[in-house]
Amino acid sequence: MIRIVTLDRIDPSDVAALSGTLYRAFGVGTEYAGDKPAPPEAELKDGRLEALKLLREAPHVRSLPDDKVLYITSAPLALKAGPLGEPPCFGFADFGGERAVITTAKLPARGVSEASVEAWRKRLAREAIHALGHTWDLHHCYDAKCAMHPSWSQGLPERPDSELCVFCREKSERKIRLAKT
C-alpha cells in the first residue's frame, strides 16, 4: 500500500489523479493519509527543506511493513553537495526503504487550463513514481521515456511520460511480489 501525505495544501483532485496513476504504475493500492506539517528541523535558512532530514523527521504515518509513504511538499528541497556540486532535487527517497518525498517547486506552473493542469498532474505522477521506484530498489534508467530517468536530464522530453520502462517495471514487480504483506 502507498500512503500519500501532503505537507502543504494540494488540490484533492490532484491527489486523486495521482493515486490512480500510482496504482497503474505499481499495481499497489494507494491511500491519502492526510495533511501534516513539515518538520521544522529540516528547514534551511534559504527557505528550502533539507531532503534527508525531512525524511528522517517527517511526521509518522500509521503503516504496515512493506507499505510506502510518499510525502508531497511545495517547498524546494536541498541536498548535500557532492564532489561536483549539488544535484537538482525533484524528490528524494530511502533506497529500499519506506519513505519518499517529492516537491512541486520544480515542476512547471500548474496553470488553470485543462491541458496545463493535466500536464502538471502527469509530471507530478512521474516524480512520485520515480521517488517510489527508489524505495523498491530501482536505480536510475538511461531510457529517457522511463520515469526512472533523472528528472534534470537534458534528454528528458518536454512532457515526459509517467510510466516505467519494461526493465524497471519487471524489476519493481519482482520486488513487490517478494513483499511479505
Binding site: L52, K80, G82, L84, P87, F95, Y142, W152, Q154, G155
Partner: protein, 345 residues
C-alpha cells in the same frame, strides 16, 4: 577523451599492478573492517572461524554484506586471489567523478569483447573499473538500447558503484546515485571544472580464438616447414590473371582490397593509444596455431610494426598482374565467357 583502452597485451594478470587498496594478505583484515568483495559489494568483516569441510579444517573469513546482511565466507588463503579490496578513499572517488563527467564517445562496439571486458573490469578493476563499465554502457545506450544481458550488467555495475560511493562518502545510496547521474548527465547549462581523469584500468590479455579472414595468414600455411620453395603469390596470380585478363579492373580491385585490408591493420597501431598498439599484433600471432612463430612475433613486436608482411604480400599482386596477363593472352581469349569472369561479375 577516448574510452578505456584495450586489454593489456603482454603482461599476465599477476604481473599487472594491483588495484589500489587490494588486500594482499588475510592478516590485514580486522573485525569491523569494511571491504569490497568484487561483484558482491561492500561487506563488513565479522571475524575468522574454523570449519570442518570435507574432512579438512579450513580457516574462513566471515563477512557480512552491508546491503542485505548476507553472510560471505572466504577461505583465508583465497583472500589475496579474489580481489578483496578496501573501500575507495575520497581521493579515488574524486577521480571517479571526474572520469564520469569527462567526454566519452568511443564505446566498444563488439558485444563479445565488451561483455568480457566489462565482466573483468567489475571483478579486477576496482572502483574505477566499475565506473568504466557504467560509463561505457551508458554511452553505448545513447547509440542504441542495451540488450537484456548488458542491461542487467549495467544495472549491477550501477548498483555496486552507487553503494561503494555511498559508503565512501557517507551519504545515502539515492544521493550517491544522484551524484553519479549529475556527473553522467549534467543538467542544461552546468559545466564542470574537470581535472584529468585517472589512468584507465589495465586488463590482462586473454588468448583470443579468432577465425582468420579470407586471404589472411597466407604465409602461415606451413609450406616453409615442408622445405618447398613455392611462389604461392605468383601461382595464385597466374590463376587469377587468366580470367581477369579481359577485366583488368577486377584484378586491380582484388589487390586494392587486400592492400586496403593490410593498410587498415597496419594503420591501427597509429590510431590507437600506445598501449593498444601491440594488441593488434598479439591478435595476429595468436590466430594461427604455430607457437614458435607466435613467440618470435611477441619477442620483436617493433620489427613487425615496421614492415607488416601482409601489406607486402598485398602490394605484390598489383605489380605481378600485368606480367601474368601477358604470359597467356591466347588461352584467356579462347576460354568461354561464362568461365572467365563468373565470380568477377
Amino acid at each position: 577523451m577516448r574510452g578505456p583502452p584495450a586489454r593489456h597485451p603482454d603482461e599476465q594478470r599477476e604481473q599487472l599492478p594491483a588495484v589500489e587498496g587490494t588486500i594482499a594478505d588475510a592478516a590485514e583484515l580486522k573485525v569491523g573492517d569494511r571491504v569490497v568483495y568484487p561483484n558482491q559489494g561492500v561487506c563488513a568483516v565479522v571475524g575468522v572461524e574454523e570449519k570442518d569441510i570435507a574432512g579438512q579444517k579450513l580457516q574462513l573469513v566471515r563477512m557480512q554484506r552491508e546491503e542485505d546482511g548476507a553472510a560471505v565466507l572466504v577461505p583465508k588463503n583465497k583472500v589475496p586471489s579474489i580481489g578483496l579490496r578496501r573501500v575507495a578513499t575520497g581521493a579515488q572517488m574524486e577521480g571517479v567523478f571526474h572520469y564520469l563527467a569527462a567526454q566519452f564517445d568511443d564505446p566498444e562496439l563488439d558485444w563479445k569483447v565488451r561483455h568480457r571486458d566489462n565482466a573483468d573490469r567489475l571483478i579486477a578493476g576496482g572502483v574505477l573499473g566499475v565506473a568504466e563499465v557504467v560509463k561505457g554502457l551508458h554511452s553505448l545506450s545513447r547509440i542504441r538500447p542495451l540488450p537484456t544481458k548488458e542491461r542487467e550488467q549495467y544495472d549491477n555495475a550501477r548498483h555496486l558503484l552507487v553503494h561503494e560511493i555511498a559508503v565512501s562518502l557517507g551519504v545515502p545510496a539515492v544521493l550517491a546515485e544522484d551524484y553519479v547521474d549529475f556527473a553522467l548527465m549534467p543538467p542544461a547549462g552546468v559545466k564542470f571544472d574537470l581535472k584529468p581523469p585517472p589512468k584507465p584500468v589495465l586488463l590482462p590479455s586473454r588468448p583470443k580464438k579468432r577465425r582468420p579472414a579470407a586471404g589472411e595468414g597466407e604465409d602461415d600455411l606451413g609450406l616453409g616447414d615442408l622445405g618447398l620453395d613455392l611462389d604461392l603469390a605468383g601461382a595464385l596470380e597466374g590463376g587469377a590473371a587468366v580470367p581477369g585478363a579481359d577485366v583488368p579492373g577486377a584484378e586491380g580491385e582484388e589487390a586494392e582490397g587486400g592492400e586496403a585490408h593490410a593498410e587498415g591493420e597496419g594503420a591501427e597501431p597509429a590510431r590507437e593509444a600506445p598501449e593498444a598498439a601491440p594488441e593488434a599484433e598479439g591478435e595476429d600471432e595468436e590466430a594461427p596455431a604455430r607457437p614458435a612463430k607466435a613467440k618470435a612475433g611477441k619477442a620483436k613486436p617493433a620489427e613487425k610494426a615496421k614492415a607488416p608482411p601482409r601489406a607486402k604480400a598485398a602490394a605484390k599482386p598489383k605489380a605481378a598482374a600485368p606480367k601474368a596477363a601477358a604470359r597467356k593472352p591466347a588461352k584467356a581469349a579462347a576460354k568461354p565467357a561464362a568461365k572467365r569472369g563468373g565470380k568477377k561479375k
